[in-house]
Subunit: 339 residues, 2 copies
Amino acid sequence: MSAAGLGLNPGPETAWIAALFDSVRAGQGEACVHDTLLTIGPGDDAAAFETPPGCRVVVSTDASVEGIHFRREWMTWETIGYRAAASALSDLAAMAAVPIGLLLSVALPPELDASASASLGRGVGEALGVMGGELLGGVLVASPGPVMVDAVVVGHADTPVGRGGARAGDEVWVTGALGGAAAAVADLRAGLEPIPSARQAFERPVPRVAEGRWLAEETSLNALIDLSDGLSRDAGHIATASGVRLELEFERIPVHPAVEPYLESRAGRRLLLGGGEDYELLLTAPAGRVKPVRGGFEDRFRLALTRVGRVVAGAGVVVTDAGGTAVPVEGGYDHLGLT
Amino acid sequence: MSAAGLGLNPGPETAWIAALFDSVRAGQGEACVHDTLLTIGPGDDAAAFETPPGCRVVVSTDASVEGIHFRREWMTWETIGYRAAASALSDLAAMAAVPIGLLLSVALPPELDASASASLGRGVGEALGVMGGELLGGVLVASPGPVMVDAVVVGHADTPVGRGGARAGDEVWVTGALGGAAAAVADLRAGLEPIPSARQAFERPVPRVAEGRWLAEETSLNALIDLSDGLSRDAGHIATASGVRLELEFERIPVHPAVEPYLESRAGRRLLLGGGEDYELLLTAPAGRVKPVRGGFEDRFRLALTRVGRVVAGAGVVVTDAGGTAVPVEGGYDHLGLT
């Protein structure tokens, strides 16, 4: 898309934005499923779109900061863009919402090669291509140092599923296998090359957008969250918001192959229980409601759906081993890096 | 609001976010006009809200970066927060949209005093209190250096007014007086204290949200934009998006008192034509359609509404003096700071 096509004056800022938007569209391919909803697009003061009748609009934002959430030397600019968009889109999955689109705020140091922002844009587009949604707009500003990417997602849902509906008696289920992304980060921090499946889990997580919607339609979800902070913290978010206690069984938790060899160690358990950014879904549903659709889910999405515990009266999260002994829960991803 | 009220686990990150959100609400006062729309609020994975039937949803984002868009020594944290929110809300004014709410992404260096983020939040709340809208959510992350604030606004409009509808024969009108914010910045850069009215224009701009809606309802707007980049650049945005030429008459342009004494100089003209961040509205409408409501507008809003030119076939923007000579148009605020 040219600067003129964006409805902007020519100029350095405009050229940068146009190049960034071009890259997003190039990365996205032909997956623009919501074209008809968009009445005024990027390049105006704001984007405007219609929403399907009777639905609710769902919005969320997620920020990635260089030196805090990523390091340039760990991954390509394309991966940085993909992960920023995927992380925000995962918040829509966690509400059982359909993505409408994304707004992108990027702060870049002016000395950065223009090909870096193009790569970053392609990565954002790739995530939109996989999960669905339009580029609704955004801003590109200068940064005096670190690269920052803020991705804002907008979606719609007939009945958004929040964190606050878990009830005593519910079962707790999780999609996929956990700890892969954290295992990759641990390797990278140690200067080691992660195994390919762990690197993939870290670099190209696939937010469970379609899976979340399917589960909301086919079963009866009381609470839903995506695993961005780590199982123990995110289970804690449901417990706090719902005013209940989540009891998880350690042996039932599905383990990523990269973590499997280390499960006897404290570090391994920490990766599994505290490792963030797997972007799988954690849900609670009334007893017996998920099992009948489990086979259909696993066939359709080629993804495990595993019961990992139950909801009881009380507060907080406990993880117990086969003997009933509590497994220490440590860590959990704190996005401020303060713990 | 406590961390528990936000549905989040206790912890350092949660405490920071809760404090920030508390501050926004404290700054906002009792102006939460859209409570009934919000079905799931901040603290969940995303906010969810209903929209009035038949309307369109309008979204925009705006980023402020320390060292690029503001300097700590120029203003208080409260002002930094207010301006970040006001700048984003002005994009809703520029679409003749009603604010629903705002999402806030803030990156702060961990060594920063907690009172700074509280002040920043109060400023955001103050802007929401003045212009309307709920706090819909947000994130607080660590920054390795500069403070960054990204404000995302969501609104609704029956008929959003974009930049691309100006037609040859339209009149061009502007609200308020221009150049005050730029005059304050020029003084601050020179180490001088701006006159109070200029400092006010810079620190507490009032986006023309109510004015934009009123104009869209009472007259017939073809194009609408807010003056964030400066008159010449923003007029150029309309010209480019609409495929027309805007002819502005220099003597008609309403001048802020801080710029008045310098109008004979090149620097003064540059403040008037190129100075950004006044957040007034520039609009085009068919000839004769604005004048009948002008008195009503000025009485209601205590704000000037001035015809400054016309739309003709062609491209670009020209500014002419009383003798018909072209006035050089320089500058214009480039948010990348590259020009």
